[in-house]
Amino acid sequence: MSQPTSRRDLLKAAAIGAVAIAPGLTLIAPAAARPLGTGASAANRWGLLIDTSKCDAGCTACVDACKTEMGLTGHDRPLTDSQYIRKVDVTDPASGHRHSLPVMCQHCAKPPCVDVCPTGASMKRADGIVLVDRHICIGCRYCMMACPYKARSFIHEDQSGQKPDNPRGKGCVESCTLCAHRIDAGGQPACVESCAKDGRAAMLFGDLNDPNSEISRRVSTEATSRIRADLGVEPAIRYQGI
């Protein structure tokens, strides 16, 4: 004869369940959705940790996901089509060691693109995400000259198949937004999600300002580095194995 489930048992089961699935939830939804009408908060510093030992040279899952998410259909013109994220293959000429890694906007704390932009179209949100205000970009491309990571693209021609979250106008500059629209909705960037699903989960997204986040924990306990750290622009994208 089964005992009727008491309220106490129910709460206990719920608590055990919550503890069990909490880490998974943390990976998928690191932040609560930002309520409409509230601005990004300086309490957050969104960033990525990319373990290049898990990044296969031939894998372009992150790149493909970005193109789909942001509506980067392109015109089969590699020199002028926009690329928010690209796979860079790095070889040490002395040892022959090779590795591969994704490079996108590094969302610098001191972004040169923001410094040089004459109109302020290049801007940094309070939470550290570097964006282009498409309304006031005049298309001068000085930010592209200034970016140490070649992370920006100029929209060289009319675009079709645009996504509502990423309007793209000919004559403006654009780059990775760290999927700000997803982050604001409590999600994570498309590249990270795709890497976990189709790749080897080399990318970890999180809040570098939150000491309890997975990314903060790993950054504080494992060796990580940043591309061209010597420039002092303090990117939010950290790498392991470069």
């Binding site: 790149v63 015109h75 013109r77 590699p78 020199l79 002028t80 926009s82 690329q83 690209r86 796979k87 860079v88 293959d89 790095v90 070889t91 040490d92 000429p93 002395a94 490079v103 040169p112 923001v114 410094d115 040089v116 932009c117 004459p118 109109t119 302020g120 179209a121 006031i136 970009c137 005049i138 298309g139 001068c140 491309r141 000085y142 592209m144 000259m145 200034a146 970016c147 140490p148 990571y149 070649k150 920006r152 693209s153 100029f154 929209i155 060289h156 021609e157 009319d158 106008g169 000919k170 004559g171 403006c172 500059v173 591309i227 061209r228 420039l231 470069i242």
Partner: protein, 410 residues
């Protein structure tokens, strides 16, 4: 002090009409090129995501740099009190404004969104040297315009000297701002050096004076007005001095970079292995643009023809110099991983290819035509050019009483 009589260029003559029509046609063609590029988007140009500034910027920077240099003749006459230069002060100021207008025209029409130009005025990022240049360039028109007024209107003679000094300082700051567009780029190995600012000032002295000499030689020939050979030689020697100063800063720029181990790669590219850029540097900029003009102008009794040839070579060498700085500097790949070999779908690690298209070149030439058009119209509407720049018997009048009592022409 001798007096100088100024005469406007007679307008509506057949020759004048022909010049105007030719310039208007070039400007119209440039306008067509702009419409084509803006309608299609920049993919129809040679510019890419790797070489983001192309031929229009070469022309624009040349004209903007030359603009401040063209003002030097006026400054030498007024600020530094050299009398032989004073009769040419008005033309110097007019040319400075005309060249700046031509350069800015090209720059603005190459923007991705030229229709948003007003945004550049209503939204201002104080940390951007580009934004500061918006103020420096527009202020240049006001400052030099006032200076020109003070030179022309005898009632303004009290303002003459202060206006001259303000204009001189303004032009130095302006060219510092233009050079710093490159000097402030921390990540580009070919730029990112404080020497860019004085280098650009030296370039401006040379390019501006070369264009000024060519205009004077052309105008006096076309208008059949006397021109003293001594004045031509004097200007030629001054040009030589400026060309030497430019070479000096170029040497400093490259030797300093060669001394830094991490910049040897970019210097090797530009100076030895850069193909077109290396050829343009040594052949165009150094040999034809500097050494040959130096020989031409410093030979005793240099002829008018030699000074003209030297000026043409300085202009062509200057365009080559800016091409090497601008395009060569971008063609060399950014260093993301020092000491490593890299490859990607985004041209990482590769020397970027760039070939200017006809539309870009036409837009640039349109800037030259616009500058010349403004200069000719200005000199036709106002008494800008001296009736004579001759000496001895051929002169009808000479040397302005710059700070005394300027004389209005009949």
């Amino acid at each position: 002090m001798k007096r100088v009589q100024y005469l406007a260029i007679p307008a509506w003559t057949p020759g004048w009409m022909m010049v105007m029509a030719a310039l208007a046609v070039i400007i119209a063609i440039a306008g067509g090129a702009v419409l084509y590029m803006e309608h299609q988007g920049h993919w129809v140009t040679g510019m890419t995501n790797q070489v983001v500034w192309g031929m229009p910027h070469v022309f624009a920077i040349f004209l903007i740099v030359a603009a401040s240099g063209a003002l030097n003749v006026a400054s030498i006459g007024s600020v530094f009190g050299r009398e032989p230069y004073q009769p040419l002060g008005r033309l110097s100021a007019l040319m400075a404004m005309a060249l700046l207008a031509g350069g800015l025209g090209v720059l603005v029409l190459d923007l991705g969104r030229p229709d948003r130009l007003v945004v550049a005025i209503t939204h201002f990022n104080v940390k951007s040297i580009f934004a500061w240049n918006v103020i420096l360039y527009s202020g240049f028109f006001a400052v030099v315009g006032f200076y020109l007024w003070a030179m022309i209107d005898w009632r303004m003679k009290r303002a003459y000297k202060p206006a001259a000094i303000t204009a001189f300082l303004w032009r130095l700051i302006l060219t510092t701002g233009t050079g710093s567009i490159f000097g402030f780029l921390l990540a580009r190995d070919a730029y990112n050096a404080a020497v860019m600012a004085p280098l650009f000032i030296a370039m401006s002295f040379a390019f501006g004076l070369a264009l000024f000499i060519l205009f004077i030689l052309g105008a006096t020939t076309a208008l059949n007005r006397p021109l003293s050979m001594e004045l031509v030689r004097r200007k030629g020697r001054l040009l030589g001095l400026f060309v030497a100063a430019n070479l000096y800063f170029v040497a400093i720029q490259h030797v300093t970079a060669l001394y830094m181990a991490d910049r040897v790669a970019v210097e090797t590219f530009l100076l030895l292995q850069g193909g077109l850029y290396t050829a343009l540097f040594w052949g165009g900029q150094v040999l034809l643009g500097a050494l040959v003009p130096l020989i031409l102008v410093f030979r005793p009794n240099a002829s008018r023809c030699r000074v003209r040839a030297a000026s043409v070579l300085v202009v062509l060498g200057g365009i080559a110099q800016i091409y090497v700085i601008l395009i060569g500097g971008q063609a060399f790949p950014l260093t993301l991983f020092p000491g490593m070999e890299v490859s990607s779908s985004f041209q990482d690690g590769l020397v970027a290819a760039y070939a200017p298209t006809a539309a870009e070149i036409l837009l640039g030439l349109g800037g030259f035509a616009l500058a010349l058009l403004i200069a000719v119209i200005g000199a036709s509407a106002l008494r800008i050019l001296p009736a004579s720049l001759g000496d001895g018997d051929e002169a009808t009048a000479e040397i302005i009483l710059a700070e005394g009592d300027p004389v209005a022409a009949p």
